[in-house]
């Protein structure tokens, strides 16, 4: 019976997240519009600037828009992870978080369920984006669309866990702008999403080193290689490690006796 209980909780959390997603059509559209703007407008201006070197997993010259597609998939997931964190803070402010946390199930399990629900949404968004990109002429090998699924799940989990961790720090919704400034932007710009590592190295060794240790870089490279049917082991290990670290910290952070909520005296208290 206990196992059923776990399943029911997971289904409950997932259904709630999916409902939220389906009902907030604006959120879905805005999640898509953001990467599409980058693809259609930003990348268009840089179309011919990148075709100067061949880097794995590519075997020939590519247009800039082909290069940034995996980075934009990462962006979809990064924003989705932050959105989940935002909704956690909201839930906490509104009190619905309490309902979840009073459940007799372990806190870690509940948080992981919440995380999985977020990943489900982000993978859906990523595939819709890939579909639009395909129609725009950015085609990956057919098998790549299947191979990219485990990569998207892993990177989605990692970025979702980061969102959870952040939400345990943020006291109020208003502080979310800080997350934009200090987490999303640096993570996105200091990664291989927009430029390959060698290009960053050309301009600055410091930025190169930072980008190398940015977990988002590894998530993007994992997605990039998977989309072309290749497995990037280093990126996979780095992403999985980051996921574990973020998740453990988040679970600690949500522990009322030890966590940040206690220390900062969050509004739910």
């Amino acid at each position: 019976m206990r196992f059923m209980h776990y399943l029911r909780a997971l289904r409950g959390v997932m259904t709630r997240e999916l409902f939220r997603f389906v009902h907030q059509r604006e959120r879905f559209i805005s999640a898509l519009v953001r990467p599409l703007m980058w693809l259609f407008i930003f990348a268009a201006g840089f179309r011919s600037t990148l075709g100067v070197a061949i880097i794995p997993p590519y075997e020939t010259y590519i247009l800039y828009e082909v290069y940034i597609t995996p980075g934009l998939l990462g962006m979809v997931q990064l924003f989705n992870g932050m959105q989940s964190s935002l909704s956690m803070v909201y839930d906490r402010e509104m009190g619905s978080m309490k309902i979840l946390l009073v459940s007799p199930l372990p806190r870690g399990y509940l948080l992981t369920s919440k995380l999985l629900a977020g990943v489900l949404v982000s993978v859906l968004q990523a595939y819709v984006f890939l579909g639009i990109a395909y129609a725009y002429g950015i085609e990956a090998p057919p098998m790549g669309y299947l191979d990219v699924l485990p990569a998207l799940v892993l990177s989605g989990l990692m970025l979702g866990a980061l969102g959870l961790l952040l939400s345990s720090f943020i006291k109020q919704l208003e502080n979310f702008a800080g997350v934009m400034n200090f987490v999303i932007f640096p993570m996105f710009f200091l990664s291989t999403a927009l430029y390959p590592l060698w290009k960053i190295q050309e301009s600055s060794e410091l930025l190169y080193t930072l980008a190398q240790y940015n977990p988002f870089t590894h998530a993007v490279e994992l997605i990039r290689f998977a989309l072309y049917g290749q497995f990037n082991r280093d990126a996979c290990i780095a992403t999985a490690t980051a996921l574990l670290v973020f998740l453990i910290l988040a679970i600690i952070g949500y522990n009322p006796s030890r966590g940040m909520m206690q220390r900062k005296g969050g509004p739910s208290q």
């Binding site: 268009a44 011919s48 100067v52 075997e59 020939t60 010259y61």
Partner: protein
């Protein structure tokens, strides 16, 4: 893990490693060498030193020899395709770059850019039999499939000169756009295609009337117009598609050869110069002079499969089945 394994198994079954269907010979203008590449996999097999500044390359009719214009040695070298050794030379006149072979494989027609002439070489006799005066800076050259015409395009006169193969005299001229580079007949011999490097256009000429029937311009989004410099041309035997190398725009234009309209542009290496079909016409090989590689294009999907480094300044390519 299980999934990965299953995937690997499927891949191994489906895509058993492609056997080399053909051998590519690529002249390396700066390395003074010839690169031998196994295709379609694109594996550089070896590089051999040959004459100075090798450019134009043509496979002999019996496929046993390559004719290579060693521009700075002022000669055309004969290279054995098996041993890759230089086995002889042909008197090409000064600074040979491009040349064409007649359908019987007996004569070569060489553009001598500095001397404003076309040298006719009897291959068997290894002798220059005639020098035909043409326009200023002759560059492109082609022999019609029926063997009736030799066409030489001169870069400064901006003309295609029609040389009668029997009399070896110019009998007609067609005005084309500035700096005509390459000339190519359709396999049915009905049309002559001429690419103009400076104008950035392609002129399709009706052979019977010797008049242009269509002028094609190229426009690539995000690429400035002066970078579009059409050079090498290849046309399907059934005249369904044609392909034009567009130089520093790093693109190959795919042209609907019936409607004479551009279908799409394919991104390849830098300064794409010359093109050649695989014997089964399923692939197209391009030489990319500045990025020092060749690109392999799948013609069923019109997709660039890969680009492979071959050496410095790849210029021309010949394909041996």
């Amino acid at each position: 893990m299980k999934k990965l394994f299953a995937r690997a198994l499927i891949l191994a079954l489906l895509a058993s490693p492609p056997l080399s269907a053909e051998t590519l010979f690529v002249t390396l203008e700066k390395d003074n060498a010839l690169a031998v590449v196994a295709a379609p996999e694109g594996k550089l097999v070896k590089t051999v030193k040959i004459g100075k500044r090798p450019r134009g390359i043509v496979l002999s009719k019996d496929q046993k020899q390559l004719y290579v214009a060693a521009s700075d040695d002022n000669t055309i070298q004969l290279i054995d395709t098996a041993s890759l050794k230089v086995v002889g030379t042909l008197p090409s006149g000064e600074d040979p770059e491009t040349f064409a072979m007649d359908p019987e494989g007996k004569f070569l027609y060489v553009s001598n850019e500095d001397d404003n002439q076309v040298t006719v070489i009897d291959i068997a006799a290894k002798r220059a039999v005639k020098a035909i005066p043409v326009g200023v800076e002759p560059e492109g050259i082609a022999v019609s499939p029926d063997g009736n015409w030799v066409v030489s395009t001169s870069e400064t006169t901006n003309m295609a000169h029609w040389i009668d193969r029997k009399s070896l005299q110019i009998v007609d001229n067609t005005l084309v756009d500035p700096r005509p580079r390459a000339a190519r007949f359709t396999d049915d011999g009905m049309q002559l295609w001429v690419s103009s490097e400076i104008a950035g256009t392609l002129t399709v000429i009706d052979v019977a009337a010797k008049q242009p029937v269509k002028k094609l311009a190229f426009k690539i989004p995000g690429v400035t117009q002066e970078k579009i410099q059409p050079v090498g041309i290849r046309i399907d035997p059934d005249r369904r598609y044609a392909y034009v190398a567009l130089g520093p725009s790093n693109r190959v234009a795919v042209i609907d050869a019936q409607k004479l309209e551009v279908v799409t542009y394919l991104l390849v290496g830098q300064r794409v110069w010359n093109l050649e079909f695989s014997p089964d016409r399923k692939r197209l090989y391009t030489t990319n002079g500045v990025s020092n590689d060749i690109s392999i294009i799948d013609l069923d999907q019109h997709k660039v499969l890969k680009s492979v480094a071959v050496g410095q300044y790849p210029w021309g390519v010949a394909v041996k089945p």
